[in-house]
C-alpha cells in the first residue's frame, strides 16, 4: 500500500486525466487541447501538462509559444492561455531558448524533468488537469504514471485513428495501462471520416471502425469518434479558440459529447 503523497502542488487539483496513444500523429495534443477547451466552456478550471519533451505542440495550438515561465515560492507558475485564467499550461516548449531548439535527451534526463513538471508546477486550484503525452510506452510514460500515482489519476483517454496501423500500436498502449495499473476511461477515435466542406460527403480516408473494435476487444468504453475537419486544422494552425469559433463544425458535437462523459463521471461541484 502506497503512503499518501505530500499534497504539494497537486493538492488543489480535483481530477487528473492522461491522454495517451501508442501511435504518433493521431491527435493526442489536439484532443487534449479540445478537451480542455470543452471543460472550460462547461465552466471548469483546467490545467494542461504537456510532457512531450521532444515535440511540444500545445503552446503553439493555444497561441502562447514564446511566453516565459516565472518562478514563485512553490515552484513554476504555469502560463495562462486566456484572460479569465481558466486554462493554464506547462510545457517544455516554454523552457527552450529558441523554438527550433531540439531537446535531444536520453531517458534519464527526460524522467527527471517530468518528475519536476509533476511536483514543481504551482497549479493552484484546478478542476481538471489534462496530461498530454508523446507517442509510445517508454520513459516519459513510466515517469509520468509513477509521478502521478500518489494522486490517483482519474484514468487515461486513449486516442487512436481508425486504421489498423494505429490500432496495432494502441493495443499495446492498452496493455501498458493494464500493466501499470492505470484505468482506461475510454478510447477516442480521431480523424474518423473526412467531411468534404464542399459537398459534405463523408470519406473514410483512414479507414473506419478500428477504434470501436479496439475498445470492444479490450473491454473498455468507446467514448466517440471525432471526424477529420480541415477547419479544425486551420484553427489549430492559427491558434484560434475552436469551440467558440466553430460550433457548426462536424467535430464539435463529438468533442462536447466526450467532455460531457468526463463531467458526468467525475463531476466537480460549484467551487
Amino acid at each position: 500500500m502506497e503512503a499518501a503523497a505530500e499534497p504539494g502542488n497537486l493538492a488543489g487539483v480535483r481530477h487528473i486525466i492522461l491522454v495517451l496513444s501508442g501511435k504518433g500523429g493521431v491527435g493526442k495534443s489536439t484532443i487534449s487541447t479540445e478537451l480542455a477547451l470543452a471543460l472550460r466552456h462547461a465552466g471548469k478550471k483546467v490545467g494542461i501538462l504537456d510532457v512531450d519533451l521532444c515535440g511540444p505542440s500545445i503552446p503553439r495550438m493555444l497561441r502562447v509559444q514564446g511566453k516565459a515561465v516565472h518562478q514563485c515560492d512553490s515552484g513554476w507558475v504555469p502560463v495562462f492561455v486566456d484572460q479569465e485564467q481558466s486554462i493554464s499550461l506547462m510545457s517544455v516548449g516554454f523552457l527552450l531558448e529558441k523554438p527550433d531548439e531540439a531537446v535531444v535527451w536520453r531517458g534519464p534526463k527526460k524522467n527527471a524533468l517530468i518528475k519536476q513538471f509533476v511536483s514543481d508546477v504551482a497549479w493552484g486550484q484546478l478542476d481538471y488537469l489534462v496530461v498530454d503525452t508523446p507517442p509510445g510506452t517508454s520513459d516519459e510514460h513510466m515517469a509520468v504514471v509513477d509521478a502521478l500515482r500518489p494522486y490517483s489519476p482519474l484514468g487515461a483517454l486513449v486516442v487512436t485513428t481508425p486504421q489498423a496501423v494505429s490500432v496495432g500500436d494502441v493495443r499495446r498502449e492498452l496493455t501498458f495501462c493494464k500493466k501499470v495499473g492505470l484505468r482506461v476511461i475510454g478510447v477516442v477515435e480521431n480523424m474518423s471520416g473526412f467531411v468534404c466542406p464542399h459537398c459534405e460527403e463523408c470519406t473514410n480516408i483512414f479507414s473506419r471502425g478500428g477504434g470501436e473494435e479496439l475498445a470492444r476487444h479490450a473491454g473498455v468504453p468507446f467514448l466517440g469518434s471525432v471526424p477529420l475537419d480541415p477547419e479544425l486544422t486551420r484553427s489549430l494552425e492559427e491558434g484560434r479558440d475552436f469551440i467558440q469559433g466553430f460550433p457548426e463544425s462536424p467535430a464539435f458535437p463529438a468533442l462536447s459529447c466526450i467532455a460531457q462523459k468526463i463531467l458526468n463521471e467525475a463531476p466537480v461541484g460549484l467551487s
Partner: protein
C-alpha cells in the same frame, strides 16, 4: 545494460557511479570505474558488420504520424524493384513497430543462424527486421526505458546477418531521443549517407521538422532532403481538392521562415 534508477545522472556524466541516486544501481561499479563512459566496443563491431552495406539512410521526422514507416516501406519496395539491388529495411521504432504490418509480414518470426539473426525476407532482395517480429502477440507492449531500447538497437545493427546490401533503410520513431542518438552513435564509424525527413504540410509538423533538422546538425548527420506527405485530398464525390499542396520550394522556405 540492466535497468537504471530514475535519477540516473547518465553514464558519461562526471557524476556517473558517484551520485546519490547511483547507490544500489547494478551498474554503479561500471560507471564509477569510468568503463561506461569509454567508447562502446560495439561501434567497431558494427563498423565491421556494415562493411557489406553500401548505403545507409535514416528516415526521420520530429513529428509522429506523418508517414515515416509508410515512406520507408515504399522506398524499400521501390529500390527492390530492380532485382539486382539488395535492400534491407530496419525498423528501430521499439515501442510502436509498424513495419511488419505495413509490409504484410505480421506474425513472421526471426530465426537465429550461425552468423546471427536472419532478417525476414519479403522478396529475395528485400529483408526486414523489426522488434515486432520478436513479440508473441499483437497486444504485447514493449515497455522499456531508454537503455534497454538502445541495447536492442545495438543488437539489430551488430547481430543481424544482413549480408551484402546495397541500401539499408532505417525507419525511426518520432522525436529526437534515445533511438535516434543510438542509431547515429552506433553507426558513427560506419558512415551514414544521410537522413530523409518526412513531414506533412501543417505548421504543427513543420515545427518538429525544424527541431529534427537541428538534431541532424547537432549530431553531424547529413540531410538528404525533406519529403512532404499527405499533401492534400481530392473528394472522390465532388472532385474538389481540399488541402493546398505546397511546392517543395515553398516548403523549404517555410521550414526556414516559421509562420
Amino acid at each position: 545494460m540492466e535497468e537504471v534508477p530514475h535519477d540516473c545522472p547518465g553514464v558519461s556524466s562526471a557524476q556517473a557511479g558517484r551520485g546519490a541516486s547511483c547507490q544500489g544501481c547494478p551498474n554503479q561499479g561500471l560507471c564509477a570505474s569510468g568503463a561506461a563512459a569509454a567508447p562502446d566496443p560495439a561501434i567497431e563491431e558494427i563498423k565491421e558488420k556494415m562493411k557489406t552495406v553500401k548505403h545507409k539512410i535514416l528516415v526521420l521526422s520530429g513529428k509522429g504520424g506523418v508517414g515515416k514507416s509508410t515512406f520507408s516501406a515504399h522506398l524499400a519496395h521501390g529500390l527492390a524493384e530492380d532485382e539486382n539491388t539488395q535492400v534491407a529495411l530496419l525498423d528501430i521504432d521499439i515501442c510502436g513497430p509498424s513495419i511488419p504490418k505495413i509490409m504484410g509480414l505480421e506474425g513472421e518470426q526471426v530465426h537465429q543462424s550461425g552468423s546471427g539473426w536472419s532478417p525476414v525476407f519479403l522478396e529475395d532482395n528485400l529483408g526486414v527486421m523489426s522488434v515486432g517480429f520478436l513479440l508473441s502477440s499483437p497486444d504485447d507492449a514493449v515497455i522499456w526505458r531508454g537503455p534497454k531500447k538502445n541495447g536492442m538497437i545495438k543488437q539489430f545493427l551488430r547481430d543481424v546477418d544482413w549480408g551484402e546490401v546495397d541500401y539499408l533503410i532505417v525507419d525511426t520513431p518520432p522525436g529526437t531521443s534515445d533511438e535516434h542518438l543510438s542509431a547515429v552513435q552506433y553507426l558513427a564509424a560506419a558512415h551514414i549517407d544521410g537522413a530523409v525527413i518526412i513531414t506533412t504540410p501543417q505548421e504543427v509538423s513543420l515545427q518538429d521538422v525544424r527541431k529534427e533538422i537541428n538534431f541532424c546538425h547537432k549530431v553531424k548527420l547529413p540531410i538528404i532532403g525533406v519529403v512532404e506527405n499527405m499533401s492534400g485530398f481530392t473528394c472522390p464525390k465532388c472532385q474538389v481538392r481540399v488541402a493546398t499542396k505546397e511546392s517543395l520550394f515553398l516548403l523549404k522556405h517555410r521550414i526556414h521562415q516559421p509562420l
